[in-house]
Symmetry: C2
Subunit: 225 residues, 2 copies
């Protein structure tokens, strides 16, 4: 109803589309359903976007850009690496629990793009982004606990992404909180066992294992193997 710049209208439509998709799936996100969700008239849709497909393509872009969590590390200093990872995963899980529809919509969009020729590459980009975020989180977790990783970080990031995906999917399917939390404990254990423990023991390498104040020591390691 109200007059508004195209940009804002587009953005509202994108949000509305995401909302509809999370409830009805991509195929349920018809132009009419979307404008209805947005409280607009059908004509406004084609004023803002060339076509439904164009909106979907843009939505996919926005969504990849906005993706933020794979592992949500808590602010407080955790005790050891495993516990820190577990807390991070639990926090991620809480986000999923709070907003399951969001996750469903993400899976929905991924699958849609996987079988839409013109969107080839989106799924790839999405997972690249997930791993990128995972790398950052894992690096931070190691830094904070003064650990370092035995395997290349990007590789471990892929493991983390696989675990969170699997945990999320299973939880969306059966909603079993307890199981999800137990799997998270397993995931934390598994990931932490790829880390080298911090206690001021024998420095395994020639590098002079400096302070462990939590900021500087980048803990880059094992880029081979």
């Amino acid at each position: 109803m109200a007059r508004m710049p195209v940009a804002e209208r587009r953005s509202i439509l994108l949000s509305a589309a995401f909302a509809v998709i999370s409830r009805q799936g991509v195929s349920g996100a018809t132009t009419r359903a979307i404008v209805d969700e947005a409280g607009m008239k059908l004509a406004s849709f084609h004023y803002a976007f060339e076509s439904r497909e164009e909106l979907l393509a843009q939505l996919v872009d926005v969504v990849v850009g906005n993706q933020e969590v794979v592992l949500a590390l808590p602010a407080e200093a955790g005790t050891d690496l495993e516990r820190l990872l577990e807390l991070g995963l639990l926090r991620y899980f809480e986000q999923v629990r709070e907003n399951p529809l969001r996750e469903r919509a993400m899976f929905e969009l991924t699958q849609y793009s996987m079988r839409t020729p013109s969107m080839q590459g989106f799924a790839e980009r999405q997972y690249a982004r997930y791993r990128e975020l995972a790398v950052a989180s894992l690096r931070e977790a190691a830094d904070r606990t003064g650990c370092s990783w035995r395997v290349p970080l990007p590789e471990l990031a892929a493991d983390l992404v696989a675990l969170t995906d699997g945990i999320t999917l299973a939880w969306l399917a059966d909603g079993d909180d307890g199981r999800a939390r137990r799997t998270i404990a397993f995931a934390a254990r598994a990931l932490a066992s790829e880390g080298v423990h911090p206690p001021a023991a024998a420095p395994t390498d020639s590098t002079s294992r400096t302070t462990l104040t939590g900021t500087t020591p980048t803990t880059r390691r094992g880029e081979a193997s």
Copy 2:
């Protein structure tokens, strides 16, 4: 064209529907697309099934029943637990690689059922089935290597399912074989570290850890973590 009993017609239509879904998604599996795939006329569809929805429901049942692999243990006796698990996961992965469309269709059906009220419970049953299969595979893997599990088997099965799901999903998204194999190695390591090693060492418990011929010792343990 040919005359055939309803049962066979139904089964052909179900296969055709699965094929269409793997290519076009559930929403692309219109009655027309399905009968086209099956080489039938539209009327035959409604002769065999009440409605499209009924076909979809039956498909979902069939598919859950046919589900077979989560971990495909090789026939030859593996060396140690980790290696055996890795080989099993690699074999599973080969199956996925050979038939990616099948996996896509499975995810598609899962998501469809998750947001279809009348099919609530399918996703749940599907994951229950996965875990059931995983339990069997893990038990066999332990038996074969004379190991036992430190955590309850059903719990470990959930971990395995999460891992295979995550690995499969990531591979479907980016098709990176190397990464999938590296994540599989990680998964094998992680799972194996929940097993108790076989070598004739000190029996940790009072139970008289009997033979390890690979059949009888059920290796049930830790039902209480």
